[in-house]
C-alpha cells in the first residue's frame, strides 16, 4: 500500500490553492539495474481531484513526471472547510485517494 | 567505569583514556585515540581497500589545521619533484577535446566504481576550477584556469619560450605537491589517477592556443 499523499489546500481570495505531494517511484522503464536488467516502468498515469465530491481536475501523466510527484492547481470558488480529495492511479492499477480540508 | 566495560566495542576504543577523569587527555593522546577511531571505522568495499587510510607523508603532514614545519614541507616538495615521470619522447600535448571530456568527468576510484584503471577515471577539473568560458557549472576551490595558456603567453607550443610553462604544468598535474606541500589538488600522475595520454589531453586543454580555454 502506497504512503498517503500530503495535501495542503489554502484559501487564496475566492479560490483555494492545492499543493499535493505523492509518494511514488515514477520509474521510467528506461533505466537498468546494476545487473543490466531493464527496470520496468511504474508511474502514475491518471490524477483527478474533487471539490466537495464534485470532479474538478483530470490529468494524464507520463513517466517524465519526477519521482515523488508534486502538483499544484487552483480550485475556483472553494472556501475554508471545503473538502478537496485527490486520487492517483498508476500503470500497474494501484490507486490511492486522500483528502484535505481547505484552510 | 563499569558502564564502559559493558558498552559496545566501538566505544571501548575511546573509553580507555577516560578512566574516570573529567579533564580531556593531552593532545597527543587524543591524536592516538582519533587514529584508532579512524582505523576501526572503515571497512574495504569493492576497489576501495583499507590501504587508502594508511597515510603517506604528504597526507599525514597535511592533516590538521596547521601547516607542517618548513623542513617537512620542503621534504614533501622535493620528493614530489623527484618522483615526476616526464612524458615519453618529450611529447606533452594531446587533444584538447579529449582534455575537455576528462576535465568534465568527476568519476572514478570510489567504492561504486569497478576498475582502478586510469581509463575509468575523470580529472574532476571543473569540480574546483573555472576552465572554459562555456561551462558555467564550475567550482571555485582552485583558481580560475580560463585563458591559462594565453595569460602565460603561450601562442606557439613549439616555441622555446613555451617550454618552461609546459614543464611547470606537467609537474603540477603529475604531482601538485611539487610546488605546494599541502596543495588540495589530487596527485594525478603520482597516484595513477590519469595516465600519460590523459595528462597530455588535459595539458592541451590548458595550453593549446586552439583550446576553448584560450579563446579571448
Amino acid at each position: 500500500m502506497a504512503d498517503p499523499m500530503r495535501i495542503r489546500a489554502q484559501v487564496a481570495g475566492s479560490n483555494a490553492t492545492v499543493r499535493v505531494l505523492m509518494a511514488h517511484e515514477m520509474e521510467t522503464g528506461q533505466r537498468r539495474d546494476s545487473a543490466g536488467k531493464v527496470i520496468p516502468a511504474w508511474f502514475i498515469q491518471e490524477v483527478s481531484a474533487t471539490h466537495n465530491g464534485k470532479p474538478v481536475l483530470a490529468a494524464q501523466w507520463g513517466p517524465a513526471i519526477a519521482k515523488n510527484p508534486f502538483l499544484q492547481f487552483t480550485v475556483k470558488g472553494a472556501k475554508a472547510g471545503d473538502k478537496i480529495a485527490v486520487t492517483w492511479k498508476d500503470n500497474k492499477g494501484d490507486t490511492r485517494t486522500d483528502e484535505a480540508t481547505v484552510a | 567505569m563499569r558502564r564502559f566495560i559493558s558498552s559496545a566495542a566501538s566505544a571501548a576504543v575511546l573509553a580507555a583514556l577516560l578512566a574516570g577523569c573529567a579533564a580531556l587527555p593531552a593532545s597527543s593522546e587524543l591524536d592516538a585515540v582519533a587514529a584508532r577511531a579512524i582505523q576501526t571505522s572503515f571497512s574495504e568495499r569493492g576497489i576501495a581497500k583499507l590501504d587508502r587510510i594508511q597515510q603517506d607523508l604528504a597526507q599525514a603532514a597535511c592533516s590538521s589545521d596547521k601547516a607542517p614545519d618548513e623542513a617537512t614541507a620542503a621534504r614533501i616538495m622535493a620528493e614530489a619533484k623527484a618522483g615526476v615521470k616526464w612524458p615519453a619522447g618529450g611529447w606533452y600535448i594531446g587533444d584538447f577535446r579529449e582534455g575537455e571530456r576528462i576535465a568534465q568527468s568527476g568519476r572514478g576510484m570510489t567504492w561504486t566504481d569497478t576498475s582502478t584503471a586510469p581509463s575509468a577515471n575523470g580529472g574532476n577539473c571543473y569540480n574546483c576550477h573555472q576552465i572554459s568560458k562555456q561551462e558555467i557549472s564550475h567550482g571555485t576551490i582552485g583558481p580560475s584556469l580560463l585563458n591559462y595558456g594565453r595569460n602565460r603567453g603561450v601562442t606557439d607550443l613549439l616555441a622555446p619560450t613555451a617550454q618552461p610553462i609546459i614543464e611547470y604544468t606537467w609537474m603540477k598535474l603529475y604531482n601538485a605537491r611539487s610546488y605546494s606541500a599541502c596543495s588540495t589538488m589530487p596527485r594525478f600522475g603520482h597516484m595513477g589517477l590519469l595516465d600519460e595520454n590523459q595528462l597530455r589531453h588535459v595539458m592541451a586543454l590548458l595550453l593549446d592556443p586552439r583550446s576553448p580555454v584560450n579563446q579571448p
Binding site: 498517503p4 499523499m5 500530503r6 495535501i7 495542503r8 489546500a9 521510467t28 491518471e46 483527478s48 474533487t50 471539490h51 465530491g53 464534485k54 470532479p55 474538478v56 481536475l57 483530470a58 490529468a59 494524464q60 501523466w61 507520463g62 513517466p63 517524465a64 513526471i65 519526477a66 519521482k67 510527484p69 508534486f70 502538483l71 499544484q72 492547481f73 487552483t74 480550485v75 475556483k76 470558488g77 473538502k83 480529495a85 486520487t87 492511479k89 500503470n91 490511492r96 485517494t97 486522500d98 483528502e99 484535505a100 480540508t101 484552510a103 | 568534465q104 568527468s105 568527476g106 568519476r107 572514478g108 570510489t110 566504481d113 575523470g122 574532476n124 571543473y126 569540480n127 558555467i136 557549472s137
Partner: protein, 151 residues
Amino acid sequence: MTTRRDLLAGAAKVAALLAAAGALPAARAAWNNTAFEAKSLADAAKAFGGGAPVESKEVTVTGPDIAENGAVVPVGCATTLAGAKRLLLLVEKNPNVLAAAFDVNDLVEPSFNTRVKMGQSSNVYAVAITADNKVLYAVKEIKVTLGGCGG
C-alpha cells in the same frame, strides 16, 4: 507544520465512500498512449486531435532558467485563452516529449505546476488545445547543469 497531518485524517475512508457514491471522476478518457509515445510537439498535439502548433502570448510556460538537477525540474503551464480545453507540458529532448496533460474546465484555474525529469538541457513547451482544436504554445529553454562532485 502542525496542521498538515490533520488535513489528512481519515482520507482513505472518505475516498472509499466517495468512490462508492460515484463522486470521483471515473476512468474518463483512457490514458492517451499515442500522445505519450510522441517524439515531437506536433505529434503529441495531433494525438489529442489538435492541428498545427502556433506560438502564442496567451499561453505561458514557467520554470527556472537553470536546473541544478535534471531529475526534478519545477515547471508550469497556463493559458488565458477562453476556449482552451486542455493544457500540455512537453520536454523537447526527452525520449518521449509529453510529460503531462491537464483537462481545462470552469472549475479550476487553467494553470498547473508540477515537476518533470529532464535528461539534458532542453526547450520546455506549454501547449493549449482549444475546443476547435487549435494548438497554441509557449516555449522556454531550461539548462540542466552538472552538479556536485559528479562521481
